[in-house]
Amino acid sequence: MNAILTLIIAAVGLGLGYFVYAKNINKNIVQPDDSKATPAKMYMDGVDFTPAGKNVLFGYQFKSIAALGPIGGPIVAAQWGWLPGLLWLILGTFFIGWVQDYASIIVPMRSEGDTFGALSYKLISPRARGILLVFIYLYLLLIMGAFGQVIGVLFMSKPAVPFGILSVILMGLLAGQMTYKWKQDIILTTVITVVVAFFGIWLGQTAFISNIFAGLNNALGEGGIKYFWPIVTMIICYLGAVLPIWRWAQPTNYVSFWVIALGMVGGVIGMLVWHPSFGDFPAFTGWTVAGLGPLWPILFVTIACGAISGWHSLVSSSGTARQIEKESDALPVGGGAMFMEMALGVISLLTATAATGGWEAFKEAFAGGKFGVFAVGLAAFLSHIGIPTSFGVPYGMVFLTIMGLTIMYLVVRFMRVASAELLGDAIPALKNIHIGAIVALILSLIVIWTGVWQTIWVLFGGANQMMASLALLIITVWLMRNGKQYAWTLWPCIFMFITTIAALLYTAFFTALPAALAGTNIAGNIIAFVVALILIVCALILGYDGLQALKRKGEVAAAAK
């Protein structure tokens, strides 16, 4: 197998999926009507509802849905060989991923801009909204655990990384200051901050700077590193969560975007120039991977983003659907962005397979640091456009760290608001932004310090895919209610629901519980077991309510006929 052939296969899948299947459903079932006023136009209030062009929204949607998920999932799934991951990325997006993202724009758009919280209340049951909030909170907590372990424990402890991170953050702060306070031109701001950020990343890997951090790590010792760097990561998250958004989160994300985008563009060019083969990387290693589990159902939650992700439905309904200018824009924005994310997932798979050069090299890189495979692969691609690997690997790690950090402080921000809204009346202290943020950070640290990474990753995927099931259920009920053909959403919904329940049951009873009983990582495995049980119970209640809702709508539709 070869990188270019893989890209061609993915392009064929993308082309058939978007131009044949998606366009056909859009034209014959959904039938967008540009003469209808969208909520963005009808309710334009300058706050939630404002129309924007489809190209702008495509960029916004893609940036909102693509991050570490489509990068991490395919790398973990490469343990089954390259074929299962590649097939799931292409077929998952083809039959399920774009369906959910696109319909998650269409349904709220034709329901006066309601979010999925409101829609689950109206279309499924009042408690479905509560269940959705449970999924969201656990999902975010698991993200903090999964990303926190990789970033806080693995990457930040590499001597070449922290200075680069510091540079990007400082340049983000400068970008905010230059734009909002000094009223400087955005192009000038971008050039200065991005160039200095790259210089900082380069400086960070020089012997002079990296020796300082190596000395610090030596002084801390193995045990100290495990606690020190996650705490540093959490301090960064705390600042990002409590400072005004224009001061920290927004400009830091902006500078990070350029650091990441330039790396991706360089990596893709390097890959095309190099077009490596997969070497001895096997297409299929076996039905079960030790520590992860069997191909079905675990693969389908291991790769969530890149194939199908429930979080997209929330972003699509609360953000994009309220900005759509014309109904016909929903497909290029929602469907198009999802197919692009599939392409990102395939590129990530190539960093694990083609870029590492073979099975043994992949296993070695994976054992050295999970997502670190991506950094090594990206550096290998970049080396073919003249960027030395000595810079490429630390740059790849800074790339991943900053990508994770920019998400983590927004997650803490959300968790702080969520705890204040949900528990603020019972525990008034949680309404204090600092206490709310610290509580979220302490919970995250517990998961980081106690959790088993692969188990957390699978549970994170499980919570995500349960949200996808709920989204597809809401869409199906809505289609039934409106007398439209619904098999294209019902079957994906059933598949995702059964698969995710099976994955959660497997993780709870065959991974976490036996490990805890055997005395391995007891606290972390018990937490994982409890989280999996909560998700299963919520999913079963949801399944029951969903069935009732489908029956109700089916009866109403039959009576109407």
Binding site: D45, G59, Y60, L140, F257, A261, S317, F414
Partner: protein
């Protein structure tokens, strides 16, 4: 004929560059601009609330100056009422976390 073919190619390149620029804008500073617009929208919403809150049951005596503002506020009143009274839950905030997975 040759010139028109060149013009067509030029137009296509110009269009492609325009689309690429808009996508880049959507990925980068669209959020900043949107954030500022939202802030302005919220302040305006609050302004109408403190001047015409009685429309939704908040007891405010309409003084002379408030009534002078009425013609300017009338076009936005329906949207303002809907925006202020719309039921919200935490999923409304989901869009704030970009690129979360």
């Amino acid at each position: 004929m040759q010139t028109s073919a060149r013009e067509r190619i030029g137009e296509k390149i110009h269009h492609a560059a325009h689309v690429a620029g808009q996508i880049l804008y959507g990925m980068t500073i669209f959020d900043w601009q949107r954030g500022l617009r939202q802030q302005r929208g919220e302040i305006e919403r609050l302004f109408v609330l403190i001047t015409f809150g009685d429309i939704i049951g908040l007891p405010i005596l309409p003084p002379y100056y408030t009534l002078r503002l009425l013609p300017y506020v009338v076009p936005t009143l329906n949207r303002w009422k809907r925006s202020l009274l719309r039921e919200r839950d935490l999923t409304d905030l989901a869009e704030l976390i970009e690129g979360v997975d």
